[in-house]
Amino acid sequence: MLYDLRRADARIKWLVTCLLATLGLSYIFGALMVSLYAGFTPARVAATYAGPEMSMPMPPESTVVVNRPMTMADFAQPEVHTVDTNLLIQDTHVHVPMYGVIAAALGVVVLGLSLRRRWALGLITLLFAAPWLDFGGMWLTKFLSPRLAILTLVGGWAMGAGYLIVAAVAVYQMWWSPKGVAS
């Protein structure tokens, strides 16, 4: 194959390294954002995406009012960040294309690595399957069962794992493997 990152010009290696570093930085902050707004446990992910919609009763036949006293502390209680259907549609609309572009960029890096065909195919599949699992899990959690929040976690970890594998192998082959250093 003509495209081989081990033998590529130093400028291309540097471009790929910068791309991987930038994506790595965004992944770190992505993880921090997940910890702030959704969490890393199935229970917290389920609370975020399943939310009250899972247990929402049918609307009453006539409008009813419930009054209850409030304290200032009640107003100060931290809210569970929930994602309703409208927001999930919006999130899916804006995130999935971005994840596709990132998976494609990492996939292009994979094509330049010296890997067995089946490993390369597996890695590319992982890069694209991870966001599908991530967002598929959110939708299934909302509409099928909160237990399926585990899929979102698996998808998130798979995205991180896919990036780390590609980054580690690419950096090693470009800068440390004998053929890489020689180019």
Partner: protein, 184 residues
């Protein structure tokens, strides 16, 4: 390379940034229900018919079909009521607190939440006098904060003012239709 630059620009434009609290809820409650020493939540669980009625007026349905009003009292005197209304925008959600005086007019409006991206737009709009434009509006009136800011602030401040207008319109419609007109 051109498509990569374009794709990156589109991603940057579309990505929703994290939410930020501009004013904590307790602070908004104290500002909009001044002097109150007791608070009560009035949760109105809308029937399908009433939810549809509200949707027809302001193109909006509250989350879970429940409108939440908060009433403040000082002793036995009602100080007023307030609502927290969320508006989903293409840039993420904002939350608007709308406080009413006992006579049913708007006492004040506070934007309590936005996103990192929208925060400077909100601050510019508020600095331009946006929230003052809502004072004394009553149910049936149309908020026109965006129109008032047009030409006096940046386009993004005017844009966010339009979103705040939606929140205030929803609060006015909900308050006017359901706050005092449903039996407990």
């Amino acid at each position: 390379m051109n498509w990569i630059v374009r794709a990156a620009a589109i991603i940057a434009l579309l990505h929703i940034t994290p939410a930020v609290v501009l004013v904590k809820r307790p602070e908004a409650v104290q500002a909009l229900l001044p002097g109150a020493d007791a608070y009560f939540a009035r949760e109105v669980h809308l029937s399908d018919v009433d939810a549809h009625r509200l949707h027809e007026v302001v193109d909006w349905s509250p989350e879970d079909g429940v409108l939440a009003f908060y009433t403040g009292k000082a002793g036995s005197t009602i100080v007023g009521a307030l609502e927290f209304v969320r508006v989903d925008t293409p840039h993420g959600p904002i939350e608007v607190a709308v406080g009413f005086s006992p006579d049913g007019r708007i006492r004040g409006v506070i934007v309590t939440k936005a996103t990192v991206e929208m925060k400077p737009w909100v601050l510019e709009a508020v600095a331009g006098g946006l929230t003052d434009r809502y004072r004394d509006l009553k149910p049936g009136d149309t908020p026109a904060g965006a129109a008032a800011l047009a030409g006096r602030t940046g386009n993004l401040a005017v844009y966010i003012a339009g979103e705040v207008d939606k929140g205030v319109a929803r609060a006015l419609a909900a308050y006017g239709t359901f706050y005092n007109h449903v039996r407990t």
